[in-house]
């Protein structure tokens, strides 16, 4: 078993090809024990392939993955009892109830003493325990999937896009469960393309694009190091105010709600813009200045990779 100081997951030079398609391109990273690690990326970036190699569903083309000190390609049967997996697009037997499904999976792990009621309560499915799987809503199905991933009390939990396709309320319900697991000290490996999810839940975020990890760190550190600007949002009474900002050599974005969004480098710039609008005689309804969020960092980095791949000789300018 892995020592305390050892990472729970160690990925070294991992590559996966499907014929001519290079899905994962020589990536390396570690996941510490007890942390919630989020792998962020656009669709087709290689998130699911990466997580499915680590959680033993797929085999790598090359590279080495060690999970709890064991090689995933050689020790699948030793690893499986220690991990819980919610695969992407999770589904279960339609005509089996919530409780029966949990009993079934606990029997597969031969965990006869598992507290099924405790698990049902953990994911807040007590009222639905006797409901057939097919009658559950999307959010409830995902919560059951998480409960299934916990039947063997795993040391490491893999959740592949657990909130995709859920409405905002259902997503928040899943987040609540994940925060509970984090408090319990479980190592959680999460893949998602929801930035706010990663920002809210993750200790470490790795952004993957076109099979490569382009940056990695805590959400705060990523924002700090990749986005040294402020976002100024103005709601002027007169739309002509946008022209004033444009003439000052900024690049304002004028959206459908008549808001003007401007990226500025310093608080001095904010003052300058406010003064110019005031001097022109355009009053403001409201204004807001904030730091950029992870989504903006993500868009900046992934679009830079996209541009670079289209023009391999070109430099990343942002």
């Amino acid at each position: 078993m892995a020592k305390e100081a050892e990472p729970a997951i160690k990925v070294e030079k991992l590559t996966k090809r499907y014929g001519n398609l290079l899905a994962v391109d020589d990536i390396s990273f570690n996941v510490r024990q007890g942390e919630l690690f989020a792998l962020l990326g656009p669709n087709g970036a290689g998130k699911t392939t990466t997580v499915e190699i680590i959680d033993t569903i797929r085999t790598p083309t090359s590279g080495k993955v060690t999970l709890l000190g064991m090689d995933v390609t050689k020790k699948k049967h030793d690893i499986v009892p220690h991990i819980g997996v919610l695969p992407q697009g999770f589904s279960s037997f339609d005509r089996i109830t919530v409780r029966e499904t949990l009993q079934y999976y606990s029997r597969l792990f031969c965990c006869m003493n598992i507290d099924i009621d405790g698990l049902v309560e953990l994911v807040d499915l007590k009222d639905k325990a006797k409901e057939l799987y097919k009658n559950l809503s999307g959010g409830l199905k995902q919560r059951l999937g998480i409960a299934i991933a916990l039947v063997n009390d795993p040391e490491v939990l893999f959740l592949d896009e657990p909130t995709t396709g859920l409405d905002p309320r259902a997503r928040r319900e899943v987040w609540k469960v994940l925060l509970g697991l984090k408090k319990k000290g479980k190592t959680v490996f999460l893949t998602t393309h929801y930035m706010e999810e990663a920002e809210l839940l993750a200790d470490t975020v790795a952004i993957i694009s076109k099979g490569k990890i382009i940056t990695m760190g805590s959400p705060e550190a990523l924002i700090e190091s990749n986005a040294n600007y402020l976002v100024l949002t103005l709601k002027p009474v007169d739309e002509k105010a946008v022209e004033i900002v444009r003439k000052m050599n900024y690049e304002p974005v004028h959206d459908n709600h008549k808001d003007i969004t401007v990226r500025v480098e310093h608080t001095d710039d904010v003052q300058k813009i406010l003064n110019a609008i005031k001097d022109a005689g355009y009053p403001l309804h409201s204004m807001d200045v904030r730091k950029p969020n992870l989504e903006e960092v993500f868009l900046k980095l992934t679009s830079a990779v996209l541009r670079k791949s289209k023009d391999p000789a070109g430099e990343v300018t942002e």
Binding site: T56, I83, V85, S91, D94, I96, E100, F109
Partner: protein, 371 residues
């Protein structure tokens, strides 16, 4: 292999089946409806009559009595052939598949046996037959059982044999009795084939198999529980069919150890084919279409519904290459004719086939996403 895991999987499959009422209907009620409908349709066609050409070279009272016995006990429609012509030529000219020849000294041997009690006296009846014809074996089976009855009668064996002999002699080959083994074979085939294809492709498409591959359940556990599940369904379905057949049509069938043997072989053969189809079909729909493409022609061409004699010659030849034919004929040999040797022969053929496709099915079953 972990029995607890296999058991857990079996319970889930049985519960899913029990809760899916439309599947229940098609798997259990449908074959029963077929039996009731066909049974009622052919109720009046009570006796199966086969034509039998007989060349009586003896032309005596004894040989005439033998011919009469064949008509009564074997339910044959006897066509007498002139004793002076060549039977072989006659069979060729008239495209006959079987001519029974009674030798010239039949009455002499018969009297020697009966009047003089000479146990060595015997007579050899010749089956002049076309080995490429499938229905000929059925006729020969009936002839054998009639002759076995006559032999038993002449040798004066103890009464228990006499009663068995009587039941054979009194045997009426009703259409429904040919039909039921065929329907059992067909329903076990469809249960096993569609059960495997539908469940496996659906679970694979929905990602349940992917999830299961991250648990300790192995491919062996999964296949074993599937086989057990299909076997339980096949036994339930067969029992339901037999109960209805006995209750409604008062059939007379031999239920012996061959019945479970053929059910097991039928299950293995078609679960094997199902596993192969699951591997190569991309989606549930195409797998079901492939299963239909295999099972439908098999149902009609392998003699499940009708004795093959009713079919044209080339279709009879096609039947011989179909696995279901051997289950049909094996079940008929054991349940209708009580012919253990024939049942053994058919079980050996379908057994080899089942073993081959089942092994291929295991190899084809994809458990991990792999490369």
């Amino acid at each position: 292999m972990n029995p607890r895991v296999v058991g857990a999987n079996l319970v889930v499959r049985i519960k899913s089946f029990y809760r899916e009422k439309s599947t229940m209907f098609f798997m259990i009620a449908f074959p029963i409806i077929l039996i009731l409908v066909f049974g009622a349709l052919f109720m009046n066609q009570d006796n199966m009559n086969f034509d039998l050409c007989v060349q009586d070279l003896d032309q005596t009272d004894s040989s005439a009595r033998l011919v009469k016995t064949l008509e009564i006990d074997g339910k044959f429609k006897v066509i007498k052939i002139d004793a002076t012509i060549s039977a072989t030529q006659y069979a060729r000219d008239n495209k006959l598949n079987l001519i029974l020849t009674i030798p010239k000294d039949y009455e002499g041997s018969f009297l020697q046996r009966v009047a003089l009690n000479d146990p060595d006296a015997s007579v050899t009846l010749t089956y002049l037959y076309d080995p490429s014809s499938i229905s000929v074996s059925m006729k020969m089976q009936i002839l054998n059982s009639v002759f076995a009855g006559i032999n038993q009668k002449m040798s004066g064996k103890p009464p228990f044999i006499r009663s068995a002999e009587t039941s054979i002699l009194a045997r009426k080959y009703r259409f429904i009795e040919f039909f039921i083994p065929g329907i059992i074979a067909m329903s076990v085939m469809t249960l096993s084939l569609f059960g495997t294809v539908n469940v496996n492709t659906e679970l694979r498409q929905k990602g349940v198999i992917r999830k299961l591959s991250t648990t300790p359940i192995t491919r062996t556990d999964w296949i074993l529980s599937n086989i057990l599940y299909q076997f339980i369904l096949a036994v339930l379905s067969t029992m339901a069919m037999l109960v209805v057949s006995y209750a409604v049509f008062n059939v007379s069938l031999q239920i012996n150890a061959w019945l479970p043997v053929f059910i097991v072989l039928d299950v293995f053969a078609f679960v094997g084919i199902g596993m192969i189809l699951t591997r190569f079909a991309k989606e549930a729909e195409s797998a079901a279409a492939a299963a239909n493409a295999i099972s439908f022609p098999m149902m009609f061409l392998s003699g499940s519904f009708f004795p093959l004699e009713m079919m044209p010659g080339f279709m009879q030849a096609v039947a011989r290459i179909l696995p279901l034919y051997y289950v049909n004929e094996g079940l008929r040999a054991s349940m209708v004719f009580n012919d253990h040797m024939a049942a053994l022969r058919y079980s050996a053929i379908i057994g080899v086939f089942a073993a081959v496709v089942f092994i291929l099915g295991i190899i084809a079953t994809k458990w991990e996403e792999g490369q």
